[in-house]
């Protein structure tokens, strides 16, 4: 330890044998069979061939089936399209006109079909954002908001309590439900946002770097919460924290930004698999270089 000031902790992936390193594939390792009908077993069957913001291509080759009842983490360098892909699942990509070549299938139906209502889609696909963004109104109304919007028929107070409980926030706020949502701490605000997102009981919960604005203790609470929530929901989480992916995710999708693409830098999905497999024994050389910290 005293030999060098900087101690180097060996990364998992560096335990790979030389033979397996030599066998790495220079490129993405995912393909899909166009002839097969979209998978209905998984939460989402993603078949994005290309994705455009206006005329500029932002994504290509995102082929992944998101399994039900699991936590899937999207990892990769900045600008690799993790968040763009995540927002494809509830169609919240709003920077100008967007075009999707291919499709994203929920229950075998393409959510980009003309007949699909974005409003209903978002009712069934909840989202939690990077910055906690509670509304200026009360804690209670924050959680009741999506229910009132969508004309929920049952008892709203019951569902609000249930949602806040499932976000592990009830004991902290039960005596001040009428206080402003903004009066809570950052970590509590983020759990309030989670309660709000699960109030409609969505099938899938999208989380866009939900802990990057939180302190370590709040981060831990949110991660514990994710582990509980996956019993009821499928979770897709974008993270740039490898340790978090390792701790929290069942599966990992590695995104890479292809700067050689003739249409300009463009994100793509390179590898997808069980967390430990991708982290310790990746198939693509792109993933290997990212995990060893040698390439963006």
């Amino acid at each position: 330890m005293s030999e060098s000031a900087v101690t180097h902790q060996k990364r998992d992936v560096e335990n790979m044998s030389d033979a397996s390193v030599a066998n790495l594939i220079e490129g993405p390792v995912l393909e899909y069979d166009k002839s097969k009908p979209p998978c209905t077993e998984s939460a989402f069957d993603t078949r994005i061939e290309r994705f455009y913001y206006g005329k500029s291509k932002a994504l290509k080759h995102v082929y992944v089936k998101i399994p039900r009842g699991k936590i899937t983490a999207f990892i990769g360098p900045s600008g690799c399209g993790k968040s763009t892909t995540l927002r494809c699942y509830n169609r919240l990509n709003h920077e100008g006109h967007t075009t999707v070549d291919g499709g994203v299938y929920l229950d075998g139906k393409d959510i980009y079909a003309k007949s699909v209502s974005k409003r209903l889609l978002r009712y069934h696909v909840g989202m939690v954002f990077q910055q906690p963004n509670p509304f200026h109104f009360s804690i209670y109304d924050n959680v009741a908001y999506p229910l009132k919007l969508n004309g929920y028929q049952g008892s709203i107070p019951d569902r609000v309590e249930e949602s806040i409980r499932s976000a592990n926030l009830w004991d902290e706020v039960k005596d001040k439900l009428q206080d402003s949502g903004l009066s809570l701490s950052g970590g509590q605000q983020q759990r309030l946002c989670i309660a709000r997102a699960v109030a409609t009981k969505p099938r899938i919960l999208l989380m866009d770097e939900p802990c990057s604005a939180l302190d370590p203790i709040s981060t831990l609470k949110v991660e514990e919460l994710m582990a509980e929530l996956k019993k009821k929901f499928t979770i897709i989480v974008v993270t740039h924290n490898m340790e978090q992916a390792k701790r929290a995710a069942d599966l990992v999708a590695y995104f890479y930004v292809d700067r050689e693409d003739p249409d300009g830098a463009c994100g793509q999905l390179v590898e997808f698999g069980e967390t430990m497999q991708v982290m310790t024994n990746p198939k693509s050389a792109y993933t290997y270089r990212y995990l060893t910290g040698r390439a963006a």
Partner: protein, 295 residues
């Protein structure tokens, strides 16, 4: 452990001198500070001398019965400007009723529906030009469009002329207020299944309500003191108004009419009306600042 061993390897550093000394740089800076302070005081001289004159002259001539008396005839004693206060309030109320909904909806269109589009740029450009419009042109315009069409000067026409002046102020201030609402808040609402109109009504507008009200108050304060547009549209009246379709007195017009008169009583009324007008505008400004600060 490593900290104690590493520090012994460091070379000794030369001492640092932190004593202050007089220098050209330092005295130049002090000189500039004094100059800036003097110029700032100079800039406020017109404001405070105006306030002083209006309040001093107004208070010494003010009688409480002026607030509810009708204007006197030439050479007569007594009287007041009660109908002018009512007239100004009616004009501003009509102007606000027209320009506030129109202005805020335009701003909502600019920021929530057409952000960044060519149409939005065109509307924003038009609003900026309109905000620099000489107020007399607003009066002439409404004279041509409303007064001539209806065949008479009226409270309604006066209110519309003031609405033309208020509209661009409200559009531009409301747009700025809406733009300051973070996008993450809109995303949160949209992501929960809200339509754009639900998001606007329930989240975006309430979130920036204090700034919206400030913009409206500033527009009201601007319109309340205008004379030129009223001269062409509402004109003047010696009596109380009973309908929207007759001409009316207003504070600015009674100041304009009476300030040039050779009768001391009319001059008293003009000064007192100035005092009331300036207090109304001041109160509106203060209230708008309080609302903005409460956020």
């Amino acid at each position: 452990m490593s900290q104690t061993t590493t520090s012994s390897h460091l070379d000794p550093l030369p001492p640092i001198d932190l004593e202050s000394k007089t220098s050209f740089r330092g005295s130049f800076s002090t000189g500039m500070d004094i100059l800036v302070a003097l110029l700032t005081i100079l800039a406020t001289v017109p404001l405070f001398s105006l306030l002083y004159m209006v309040i001093y002259k107004g208070l010494s001539r003010f009688r409480f019965d002026m607030l509810w008396e009708l204007p006197p005839g030439a050479g007569m004693e007594g009287g007041g400007f009660g109908n002018a206060i009512v007239g100004t309030l009616a004009l501003v109320a009509i102007a606000a009723a027209v320009s506030v909904p129109l202005g805020i909806l335009t701003a909502v269109f600019l920021t929530e529906y057409a952000r960044g589009s060519k149409i939005a740029q065109g509307i924003r450009f038009a609003s900026k030009i309109l905000s620099g419009l000489p107020s007399i042109l607003a009066g002439v315009f409404i004279y041509a469009v409303v007064v001539l069409a209806l065949g008479s000067f009226s409270v309604l026409a006066g209110g519309l002329a003031l609405a033309v002046l208020m509209l661009p102020i409200i559009v531009l201030s409301a747009e700025e207020a809406l733009l300051r609402v973070p996008r993450t808040l809109r995303d949160a609402s949209t992501g929960l299944g809200a339509t754009t109109s639900q998001t606007v009504l329930r989240v975006t507008l309430p979130a920036c309500a204090p700034s919206l009200i400030t913009g409206v108050m500033l527009a009201v304060a601007r319109a309340a003191g205008e004379t030129a547009p009223v001269m062409f549209t509402a004109l003047f009246s010696d009596y109380w108004i009973s309908s929207l379709f007759e001409q009316t007195a207003s504070l600015s017009m009674i100041i304009y009419n009476f300030a040039g008169m050779p009768f001391e009583n009319m001059l008293d009324i003009a000064w007192s009306a100035s005092l009331v007008l300036i207090l109304l505008v001041l109160a509106t400004n203060i209230v708008s600042h309080l609302i903005a600060a409460r956020k």
